[in-house]
């Protein structure tokens, strides 16, 4: 069953990708989407088996992969509770995104390619989450990176999309650099790359030291931090986050699937999968906590001032991933996975909702040209509102359960880094509420402002082509009236909306409650029952903090964007430095350009011209040539090409050899 589940998307991707031209768009779309729904049905069967504590954890071997000396790597599919959770998330969101893309990509001339990439991505992601060893995980890791690269650059005639695609791949490679070194070091220490064997052997190696780059370091800390660099790359944590906002160049369904619900959570999954290793190093856990908290804060501040609707959600994703990491860092892996699970529903919902808005607005993504859309696209409005409620943690929505649990766990962990994370997390909850509601108010409330949008002007112009449209519209609509999206796009919104509302109520017991949680996870991650008990014993003000943050953020956003819309302008004018700093994303891109990109090119040119041409060649072959020209008439007398003189040298050499041997 698991084999079919994993390989079906690969098969459909190959059929749609290689045979797309032969079988036509509709067939290609039907095959990939149908395959994904089959996979999703299988995934839910497996998940429910684990939820009811019936299914045993298994590993299905597929093929030998690499065998060299002591190294044994297999292609194998490992299924336990942790995998089952990821299977459900990946296949469900993917199936819905496939369906959604029928409507969203309807007019695109290379739809088959798009669907093939989506299915290919799903296959790679499934290989990642079913990996029973680090190398196969790395295969999935790079595979999703490839699919992400292809999908970000899907509209490859746009230079910005190409640049974003390369940036995503290369920045992820920086993470993979750490991941690779982590695998090498793990093999050195453990003598194996099998996850089960590594996890079992952790106690033997805890507290040991080894030499790394000339200094003696703690084994577990070093391994975990190297692997964590990989997680940071894929999950866009502070420092390696710069690719994620740019990745929004891809079509919106891609953003929902890859850059919100699944691929970017791979880092969180990896930390949870290897949680027994991280448990063996307090330093590593503290680093994970602090990086997570800082990312959550950084991304939330930037999200407050962005104007592109997708970028706001992208920064929100980055910020929520920070939450997941600091939950893991405080030892609450079950909580981290729970937030991953609920986040997949509401963030995919928000992205697909945003896609519906963009679809209605002829690919205009700037919220400054939205306004008052709730009257035009009411279903999208309500679905986006549900997503926002869940994201900001309104009572009894999915995000309410998971975010509360994260903050309580950070508080209850009692460590210094945990307290730091709690404080930051509470502030970020307020910021989250603010930027999320800002998005809703800017998009759906107020008066229409899209008369100034170029995209809309094009659309209107095309519609009125040939007419003399002298009649003026003073209402900011330029005569354009957005329409609700087709059913294929709305159905996924309904399903995800249901998930965003209900996932928390249904599953919080299994994921985070002490005893049910231990029975649910069954050792597939390090589940700390003490910590989970402690969640119930935190002071009342800790419990209420997220809700206060929710209402405060909502109130501030309402005040600034509905009641008195002059407030944002005031801020922009009064503190331009801060505004600019946030709008420019803390100047990370500028910084990286200055210290990595430009110096690389400069050194490349330097080595090429000064190194190869003016040093090595000048004193090497070219110099020798000059000497030859100046000093040698001998060579000219042979009147030969170099080939012959070369053969001559060989002959002379052999003759000398013979003479020497026979002496």
């Amino acid at each position: 069953m698991i084999t079919l589940l994993v390989f079906l998307p690969l098969l459909t991707a190959l059929v749609a990708g290689l045979g797309g031209r032969a079988i036509g768009h509709t067939a290609a779309k039907a095959i990939t989407t149908g395959g994904l729904f089959v996979s999703a049905a299988l995934a839910w069967t497996i998940f429910i088996g684990f939820w009811l504590n019936e299914a045993p954890a298994t590993t299905v071997p597929v093929l030998d992969w690499i065998e060299s000396g002591a190294l044994r790597v297999q292609w194998a599919l490992k299924v336990d509770t942790l995998t089952a959770v990821m299977l459900v998330v990946v296949t469900s969101v993917s199936a819905l995104v496939h369906l959604y893309s029928w409507g969203y990509m309807e007019e695109d001339p290379s739809q088959s390619r798009f669907f093939a990439y989506l299915s290919l991505f799903t296959f790679a992601m499934l290989m990642l989450v079913t990996a029973d060893n680090l190398v196969q995980m790395f295969f999935g890791w790079e595979g999703v990176g490839l699919a992400s690269y292809l999908l970000i650059g899907f509209w490859y005639t746009k230079p910005s999309a190409n640049a974003a695609a390369i940036k995503a791949f290369v920045v992820n490679r920086v993470g993979d650099f750490g991941f690779s070194l982590g695998i090498f070091a793990t093999f050195l220490v453990f003598g194996t790359v099998s996850i089960d064997a590594i996890v079992a052997a952790v106690p033997q190696h805890a507290g040991q030291t080894f030499s790394f780059l000339g200094s003696t370091v703690d084994v577990m800390t070093c391994l975990c931090l190297l692997l964590f660099i990989g997680a940071c790359g894929k999950s866009a944590q502070l420092g390696l986050h710069t690719w994620l906002p740019d990745a929004m160049e891809g079509p919106t369904p891609v953003s929902a699937l890859i850059h919100a619900a699944t691929m970017v959570t791979a880092g969180v999954f990896m930390v949870c999968r290897l949680s027994p290793m991280f448990e063996a190093s307090e330093t590593a856990l503290a680093v994970v906590t602090i990086v997570g908290a800082c990312t959550a804060f950084f991304a939330a501040t930037v999200g407050m001032v962005q104007n592109d609707i997708k970028r706001v959600i992208a920064y929100s994703t980055c910020s929520q991933l920070g939450y997941m990491f600091f939950a893991a860092g405080t030892g609450a892996y079950g909580v981290a996975m729970f937030h991953l699970f609920t986040h997949a529903f509401f963030k995919a919902l928000l992205f697909l909702g945003a896609g519906s808005v963009i679809h209605a607005m002829h690919h205009e993504q700037d919220m400054r040209f939205y306004g008052g859309l709730r009257k035009h696209i009411p279903i999208t409005f309500w679905m986006m509102t549900i997503g926002t409620l869940a994201l900001t943690g309104f009572f009894f929505t999915a995000g309410y359960y998971s975010k509360d649990a994260i903050l309580e766990a950070a508080y209850a962990s009692g460590t210094a880094s945990g307290t730091f994370a709690f404080t930051v997390g509470a502030v970020v909850a307020l910021l989250t509420s603010f930027y999320s509601w800002r998005l809703v108010f800017l998009t759906f409330f107020g008066a229409p402002r899209w008369a100034g949008s170029e995209h809309i002007q094009h659309a209107v112009h095309d519609a009125h082509h040939g007419h003399d449209h002298a009649h003026h519209h003073d209402d900011g609509t330029a005569g354009y009236h957005p329409h609700e999206s087709p059913l294929s796009m709305l159905v996924p919104l309904f399903v995800l909306g249901a998930g965003a509302l209900l996932a928390g109520i249904i599953w919080h017991g299994a994921f985070v409650e002490a005893e049910p949680g231990a029975a649910f996870w069954r050792g597939s991650l390090a589940f700390d029952t003490h910590l989970m008990h402690a969640l119930h014993e935190v002071p009342a003000w800790v419990v209420w903090t997220p809700s206060i943050a929710f209402f405060a953020g909502l109130g501030l956003a309402w005040n600034a964007y509905v009641r008195r819309p002059s407030i944002p302008k005031w801020w922009r004018n009064e503190v331009p430095g801060l505004y600019e700093f946030l709008l420019r994303k803390w100047y990370f891109d500028e910084l990286y350009n200055a210290i990595f990109v430009r110096p690389s090119l400069w050194f490349g040119r330097l080595f090429w011209t000064r190194g190869d041409q003016q040093t090595i060649d000048r004193f090497g072959p070219d110099g020798a040539a000059e000497m030859v020209v100046v000093g040698s008439n001998l060579a000219r007398r042979f009147q030969s090409g170099y080939v012959y003189s070369y053969a001559l040298v060989m002959l002379v050499g052999l003759a000398a050899a013979a003479a020497w041997m026979m002496r």
Partner: protein, 516 residues
């Protein structure tokens, strides 16, 4: 049946026949093409037969033949172990593809061109099959002669400069190597490679012998800083010439290291790892950065070859099983992938007659099949898992990590830089908009071109997903080399390197933990 002799002599005979073909120029050209293709296909079949009959459980030389030509000093002594077998497979696999790739692009002196390629094939097989050290030398150096001809006659505008540069570089190394060989034969009293590989040369002598061989192999490899002949040679060579140059001739250096330097001078190898690691580390960073700023497609791929070859040297001098097996696999993988990349460049060069990257663009629209194939080989070149490049790179670095964390750290940056220059190349060629009308008018892959590239795609995937088929025959031979190296004293290097090969530095304070 003297299968190896047949494989070496058949192309020579065919080459002679080609040169004496009757008819006018056009008829001769047509016949030469068909005859050359047929010969290389027969060679391929013979190669496959070798593989099928090969016993992968032993490190001994198989299919052995010996014919005393000139007494004890030069024996026609042939035989292959797994290492040689796989390199022969690579050669006979690429050769028919090269003939096919030259089918239409070479128009002048076709019979001579084909003859040069056949001669090259014969010499390459000879190099890998030779068991006599002087016979090896003859084949090893002789193999360059047809390459000179191919670059010098059918090459581009600066072909003379390129072939002469190639010559100058190789000359010095060859002479030194020959002198070293003479000394070794005098010491051991045998010209048999198997005997020499089991001879314990004095440690001081090993040092000088190692350097003499190093001078030759480092140029062939090529290692930094003696790499500058390679970009020029590639740029000037015709497509098929580049394929053989990158695919097989660059492997001669690595083959030399694993066949001679490591088993014959194990102490010197262990003592001089700092030299090899240092050069490899510089090579990866330096040539990757240079590749980043190239405007000429062939130059870019040539520089990337130097970086990949630095992974080979890094893996070989890790001196352990994973490192050596990874290095061998890297040679095979690079042979396939960079060969294929040069073929891909050839495809569009045939259409637009320029290698300038800026003249292309938007090929994903106009040549979708081509764009897909190029994407595949780009990804194989950056070592995406499930392609051959990944398995090789992974094993090399895994092995190297056990010998030196610093070297691994620096070499691993190659995976970042490699992704940068290859993806940027791909984006400029395949994405964006076509640079001009002529670019837009280029037709997609022809059936012949698909037939050339598809087998390489299959082989690359096979090696990436199930590398066992390729590794199993080599493993006993590599184990023998590793056994020669076992226990040799490694150099201590000014920068720190973790230096005991097997699970070093677990200076575990287990008792310290108990004490608390």
């Amino acid at each position: 049946m003297p299968i190896l002799s047949i494989m070496i002599l058949l192309p020579v005979v065919a080459a002679l026949v080609l040169l004496t073909l009757p008819g006018d120029a056009d008829e001769r050209a047509g016949r030469a093409r068909v005859a050359a293709l047929a010969t290389t296909l027969v060679e391929l079949l013979a190669g496959l037969w070798l593989w099928a009959e090969f016993d992968p459980s032993t490190a001994a030389f198989q299919f052995a033949e010996a014919l005393p030509l000139f007494g004890p000093y030069l024996t026609w002594s042939l035989g292959i172990d797994g290492i040689a077998l796989m390199l022969i497979e690579l050669s006979v696999f690429l050769m028919p593809l090269c003939i096919l790739a030259s089918w239409e692009s070479v128009k002048t002196r076709v019979p001579e061109y084909m003859a040069a390629f056949l001669l090259m094939e014969s010499l390459m097989i000879g190099t890998f099959a030779a068991r006599d050290i002087f016979l090896f030398y003859l084949f090893f150096e002789g193999g360059l002669i047809p390459m000179f001809l191919i670059i010098g006659i059918w090459g581009g505008a600066r072909r003379i400069y390129a072939s002469y540069k190639f010559f100058l570089y190789t000359l010095l190394g060859s002479v030194l190597m020959l002198v070293a060989m003479l000394w070794m034969v005098g010491f051991a009293g045998s010209t048999d490679i198997g005997v020499l590989a089991r001879t314990d040369f004095p440690k001081e002598a090993q040092f000088w012998l190692f350097l003499a061989f190093f001078a030759s192999f480092a140029v062939k490899m090529p290692m930094w800083p003696v790499h500058t002949w390679l970009p020029d040679a590639h740029v000037e060579a015709p497509t098929a010439g580049s394929v053989i140059l990158a695919g097989v001739l660059l492997k001669l250096g690595g083959y030399g290291f694993i066949r001679f330097s490591l088993p014959m001078f194990p102490d010197a190898s262990a003592q001089l790892i700092w030299l090899v690691f240092g050069l490899s580390m510089v090579a990866v960073v330096y040539t990757s950065l240079v590749a980043l700023v190239q405007h000429d497609m062939k130059k870019l791929i040539a520089y990337s070859s130097v970086a990949h070859m630095a992974f080979v040297t890094g893996g070989l001098f890790a001196l352990n099983t994973q490192g050596l097996e990874g290095a061998m696999l890297m040679m095979l993988s690079h042979g396939l992938v960079s060969g294929a990349l040069f073929l891909c460049v050839g495809v569009i060069y045939d259409r637009l007659h320029t290698r300038e990257i800026g003249r292309y663009g938007g090929l994903a629209d106009t040549m979708p099949k081509y764009a897909l194939v190029l994407l595949f080989f780009t990804m194989a070149s950056v070592g995406l898992p499930a392609t051959s490049g990944f398995v090789a790179e992974f094993l090399v670095l895994l092995g190297l990590y056990q010998t030196s964390t610093w070297a691994t750290f620096v070499l691993t940056t190659g995976i970042i830089l490699g992704a940068a220059y290859m993806l940027w190349l791909y984006a400029r060629v395949a994405y964006g908009k076509a640079a001009g009308e002529d670019t837009r008018a280029m037709p997609d892959l022809s059936l012949r071109e698909v037939a050339i590239l598809a087998p390489i795609v299959a082989a690359t995937l096979w090696m990436g997903i199930y590398p066992k088929s390729f590794m199993a025959p080599m493993q006993p031979a590599i184990a023998e080399v590793v056994a020669r190296l076992e226990g040799r004293e490694l150099a201590t290097v000014p920068t720190d390197m973790t230096l005991s090969p097997a699970r070093p530095a677990l200076i575990a304070p287990a008792h310290a933990a108990e004490a608390h």
